[in-house]
Symmetry: C2
Subunit: 269 residues, 2 copies
């Protein structure tokens, strides 16, 4: 499988701390050594960094860990290949343009390629189920919505189609156009929101603590979403199977189901 | 304006030497300090690196200058903004998917935005004439060709549409899908082919010499295309206005017009 990480913030924020924890799982504290990708939305633009090498040892990952790129939405993925060879075209996040916006998707799970519906408009470059899912979801948005459709409605559409995918296999995913961040949990996904009063956070995968009270403003808000909690002293909310959420400006503004299950601090998840 | 750089090679090759020369022109030896981008095709996949900061001082450019990524086709662009703000969405190369292939374009020149024909299928994310040109060219390929169309025919189609653009303004461009590299000269573009017997090459923009005979195999072939020659001791061919070329595996396999004008070594161009 793979691991996912995303961030939504109300002011441009770097993801270096969370990324430092995540990339250790790509060949050091975890087995996800088949490449990684991360993309940053910055003022309406997008840039991505990808490598087919293990994130724990990749020179590009090491560069990014210490180079604070400020963005309001970022998505990342470390890969343990199941479907598709280890190469760039199978490395998440994938990107496509729709309505003059750059959309990206990262996926964790597995759906039999033959069961993923075919898209008409977009066509996969690689051979993963994940990119095929992405193409189909964007096709559906293009059919069912317009560029004026608000994110609250886009989230409901995406929830509907993700529930269909959830019947076909495992489909934890992150999807964004730089304005909203839609998250769907099939089997495993947790999130938290950091806001005032800020305190220290300690990584699970590396002995590193940041005291966010010393690097934030009182109005800052940052939501972090990950396959598994990245810190061991904060309250992470475990999402339920079939649960979808929309994050905008560091807040969960829409959810499909009841409240997530809270894992108390230090639960080791 | 801007400056362009591209490479086509018959074996995976790094572009570090040429890139080292180019990025100096982004704020040091040249005025093109409004960001840069570079993309690498590697075994059917694509990765890109972009920055809105000047390439001469960008930490990302400095990383890439010393991190040899091996690819058979690479495209790069350093920007001096005329149309569109300095931000990521206006940073070349642009990318879109067509026929399950990742296409990229970098452009130098200027065409009045209102004169660039509208595309139906693709939509610009940013506000440059260049991205609008890209969307229109891919629309035309989608209309006039199929995924089976060989590059020799794609080049003729692209030549036809680039000549139309050339009537509307200045349009030097590089376009690729990772298999072929199409190049069109409107006002300024030069190229050379490095092959055996290899010799030393010396950059114009930095006192750096590489003796390619010590780092190559006798069968290697690399074509380099740039707005202005990057070395001062090799034979660069200056393309004529309206001339299009297709490069595959380090060779110019198709051209629209008569031979380019050869600038003798040390002409300082």
């Amino acid at each position: 499988m793979c691991e996912l990480l995303a961030m939504s913030a109300n002011v441009p924020t770097d993801i270096c701390f969370s990324f430092t924890g995540l990339i250790r799982r790509g060949g050091a504290t975890g087995p996800h050594g088949d490449g990684f990708g991360i993309c940053f939305y910055e003022s309406g633009g997008l840039r991505e960094f990808k490598d087919y090498q293990a994130s724990a040892t990749s020179a590009i990952a090491e560069f990014l860990r210490t180079y604070p790129i400020q963005s309001k939405i970022a998505l990342s993925h470390i890969r343990q290949a199941n479907v598709g060879a280890v190469n760039l075209q199978n490395t998440h996040p994938f990107q496509r343009e729709l309505w003059g916006r750059a959309w990206t998707l990262a996926h964790n799970g597995q759906i039999d390629l033959s069961r993923v519906p075919q898209a008409n408009f977009y066509c996969p470059v690689g051979t993963t189920d994940s990119e095929k899912i992405f193409c189909w979801l964007l096709d559906k948005l293009r059919e069912q919505a317009t560029e004026q459709t608000p994110w609250s409605e886009l989230a409901q559409l995406l929830q509907h189609y993700c529930q269909q995918l959830n019947q076909l296999g495992v489909c934890n995913l992150l999807l964004s156009d730089g304005n909203g961040l839609f998250v769907f949990c099939s089997t495993k996904l947790s999130w938290l929101c950091r806001q005032a009063p800020f305190g220290p956070a300690h990584l699970c995968d590396r002995d590193l603590t940041v005291d966010f009270s010393s690097v934030t403003h009182i109005d800052d808000r940052v939501a972090v979403i990950a396959t598994q909690p990245l810190t061991d002293n904060e309250d992470w909310h475990a999402m339920q199977s079939g649960e979808g959420r929309l994050f905008c400006d560091g807040v969960s503004t829409w959810q499909s189901l009841g409240p997530s299950v809270v894992h108390p601090k230090g639960s080791g998840l």
